[in-house]
């Protein structure tokens, strides 16, 4: 009897392994001939067609569709379809017209006067004019609105003056070269004053803008539906189609589980899905039924910041030892299988002033690293961990949970790589980075990134006193030279000089080993071949104005 049972168990084990293998194969080797992906068309190269409904899977649920109150990248992907901005950032980093046709800057650089388009209407019929612009920006700085990132982006905005119906003047507290660039961001998109006043707190569930798509419905945790705005004729220069969109509708499906999300594209249930895990990137690329769209996000790459408020990491030599000992190349290659680019600078490629001379500037050198720590007087103890004055050499490494983009795995590898150097890395994965990092400052190394349209994003991370003075910067920098450069970068109006300033800043940060830049996050979309002409703005957010579906 026992023998019989064992045999049965063997068969079942074999059957289960087979099931696994079959399942695994289904991702890797789907034949190109007609499987049941109803939306996939064999012929490539058809021409743009009017109509159709695009289904696009998002990785998480947006928090709100009120641009002024949201702070999530995933929300921006929907928000960008509903709202337009005053100006647009062009691929060469210059600013182009959108809802504003032209603008002038006062000699003291403290006020911007915008001439507005006169043919624009919000989707609820409210006219778009200077009053509407004033309402929007005043709404953001009004504490009642509980604005999130928009408030930081709009800084140092003070007030608006309506000059005439289609001319508005924005006044700033202090000059800021980042201001115009920030106005291009979707989070400073323009909402209908009528709708925002009427719906108040619930505006985020009943959004109204001037964008190429109108809001239809939001089924929580299921889908958000938007439909074409037929009146649309004010598209920015970064898309080809200047009129109403080709698509009738876009359904944003919310599918948090990555295997399910990619599976929905492979089974033909949705046209496209965002954030493709590295292990699926190769199989999507290798499958002729699907395409992989990929664009690097712009701003600050995923970076490990030293907390310079804590010894010994306030010493550049100690930081340099870590910089030389961590093999970032092997981390990025191991975890992302060649699908992510390694970061070299505090800024990501593609942003104004990116310093490409930093690329390949640092090679791992464990001997040199050991030598630096020896010089500082950290001697190895019995357990191999270095000690000085009875204190062990440790790094409190904090990262936010959950394991977004395998960040927790980065922590584990850094821990392993620093052990031979005699550094004991304690990894703390916490959801509550607000308390641990921002309030208690209880970390030596902390990982973060930021999507940003302007290199001034560095200010918040490296300046001694962040503008709000409420919090200290993550890096805990207190470097007068760096402060001065960041201040100059904020106000320098000559673009050439500004680029030079930011190149110096980046070099300074790396030379002083203030950070370990790790990877540039690519926004990836797996899509059926039927989906054509998805474009991306300079920050890496998708634009659906030109999108059409092959029939």
């Amino acid at each position: 009897m026992l023998k019989l049972q064992n045999n049965w168990l063997k068969y079942v084990a074999v059957a289960m392994v087979l099931m696994l293998v079959l399942g695994g194969c289904s991702i890797g080797t789907k034949e190109a001939d007609g499987n049941a992906t109803g939306t996939t068309t064999e012929g490539v190269g058809g021409k743009s067609s009017q109509g159709g409904e695009l289904s696009y899977a998002l990785a998480t649920s947006p928090d709100t569709l009120d641009p002024h109150r949201s702070g999530l990248a995933v929300s921006v992907r929907v928000i960008r379809t509903l709202y337009d901005s005053l100006v647009v950032q062009l691929p060469d980093h210059t600013i182009g017209p959108w809802l504003a046709t032209e603008w002038t800057v006062s000699p003291d650089a403290k006020s911007y006067t915008f001439k507005l388009r006169q043919d624009v209407k919000f989707q609820d019929g409210t006219p778009f004019n200077a009053e509407a612009v004033k309402y929007n920006f005043d709404r953001i700085i009004n504490p009642e609105t509980k604005a999130a990132n928009a408030q930081a982006l709009l800084h140092p905005y003070k007030s608006s003056e309506v000059i005439d119906e289609y001319t508005v003047k924005l006044n700033l507290e202090t000059p800021s070269q980042a201001f115009l660039g920030n106005l291009t961001q979707a989070l400073l998109g323009l909402v209908s004053p009528t709708a925002a006043k009427k719906d108040g707190e619930q505006f985020g569930k009943n959004p109204v803008g001037t964008g190429p798509f109108k809001f239809v419905k939001w089924d929580e945790n299921a889908e958000i539906v938007v439909e074409r705005n037929d009146d649309y004729k004010w598209a920015p220069a970064i898309v080809d189609n200047k009129g109403a969109a080709y698509l009738d509708k876009i359904t944003f499906k919310i599918i948090p589980e990555e295997a399910t999300r990619i599976g929905s594209v492979q089974s033909g249930q949705v046209h496209a899905a965002e954030t493709v895990p590295p292990q699926n990137v190769a199989s999507i690329k290798g499958d002729s039924n699907f395409q992989l769209l990929q664009v690097n996000t712009v701003g600050l790459p995923y970076t490990l910041f030293f907390n310079q408020r804590r010894a010994p990491w306030n010493d550049p030599k100690a930081r340099q030892a870590v910089q030389l000992a961590v093999d970032v190349d092997s981390i990025v290659k191991t975890l992302y299988l060649g699908t992510y680019e390694r970061a070299w600078s505090p800024l990501s490629p593609g942003i104004l002033g990116y310093n490409e001379s930093l690329e390949n500037s640092i090679k791992p050198d464990v001997d040199k690293a050991n030598q630096l720590l020896d010089e500082l007087g950290w001697a190895r103890g019995a357990d191999g961990i270095r000690e000085k004055d009875g204190k062990k050499l440790t790094i409190q490494y904090v990262d936010g949970s959950p394991n977004r983009e395998k960040r927790n795995d980065i922590a584990a590898i850094v821990q392993q790589q620093l052990k031979p150097l005699g550094i004991d890395v304690k990894v703390e994965i916490t959801k509550d980075v607000q308390t641990v990092v921002y309030i208690n400052g209880d970390y030596d190394l902390y990982g973060n990134n930021q999507v940003n349209s302007d290199p001034n994003g560095l200010y918040w991370f490296y300046h001694t006193s962040a503008p709000n003075a409420a919090k200290l910067s993550i890096s805990g920098s207190a470097d007068p030279e760096l402060d001065k450069l960041l201040e100059q970068g904020l106000v320098e109006s000559d673009q050439g000089k500004r680029i030079a300033i930011y190149k110096t800043i980046q070099k300074n940060i790396i030379d002083k080993a203030l950070i370990l830049p790790i990877y540039v996050f690519p926004y990836t979309v797996a899509a059926s071949n039927a989906v054509k002409d998805v474009k991306f703005d300079t920050l890496g957010y998708p634009l659906f104005n030109d999108v059409n579906l092959l029939k």
């Binding site: 168990l9 696994l20 399942g23 709100t64 599976g263 089974s267």
Partner: protein, 308 residues
Amino acid sequence: MGRSIITRLFTSLFVVLGSLILVFCILYLLPSDPVLMMIDPSSATPETIANLRHQLGLDRPFYIQFASYFNNIIHGDFGNSMMNSEPVLPKILKHFPATLMLTIASSIIAVIVGVLLGVLSAIHRNRWIDIVARIVGLFGISMPTFWTGILLILLFSIQLHWLPVMGSDGFKTLVLPAITLGIVGAGFIVRMVRNSMLEVIHEQFIVTLRSKGLSERAIMYQHALRNALIPAITMMGVLIGEMLAGAVVIETVFSRQGIGRIIADAIMAKDLPVVQGVVFFSAIIYIIVNLIVDISYTYIDPRVRRAH
């Protein structure tokens, strides 16, 4: 018998009160600050934080916070979501039907598969059907649902294109999640029914029935099964709890709507009123189901009826 039901109702009320206190305390004692989760800490001033905390009543002493929470709950007010100010109870009620559908569908699968296999395996002990039943039992109890779910998706949706990968609209989208969750329940029931059938089969009254010349079939299905089902019904009460908990994972894997998804999101966002609301709501459902199970004994098992 009427008195026993009233006693049970009273006990249940105490359990409800207990769970309410527990839910409130656990979340109150958590070390992190919900206010800081709501705002961007890089741009907020201490005054903004203090104002918001005051607005939400989080600066009041523990017992006052609890008293006002308790008072609101009694009046059907579960509070508003911290993320988007949406009232919690309507939100739960809106999403509960989807979870209820999933729970019912998987319970049906669990009961049919579980009882059938359990009885067959006890009757045909050590034959192939018994071994299949034991494997189903082991599989159901030990396989993590997200893993089973993804395997089913790979096979039935991506490979065979029979069923949709995700969604919560219509019967087709219910099949895979219900099977995934049903397997878990079936695992528990198979083991329970098999064991109690084996016990019953060896009891004196079965021997008596045999000696009276009843057919083996009649003995098994009319007499043995009826007795063996009693522990299985108790099991159902516990299983409903398992299913509600399982919904958290299943609804995420299959991208379904439901209260499991809501609580998963709320926990991530530290949206206290929503977490409290869903946990308390689930506790009430669990208590009601177990009350029904308790009462139903009196009808199924004459011994319980006679005891009162």
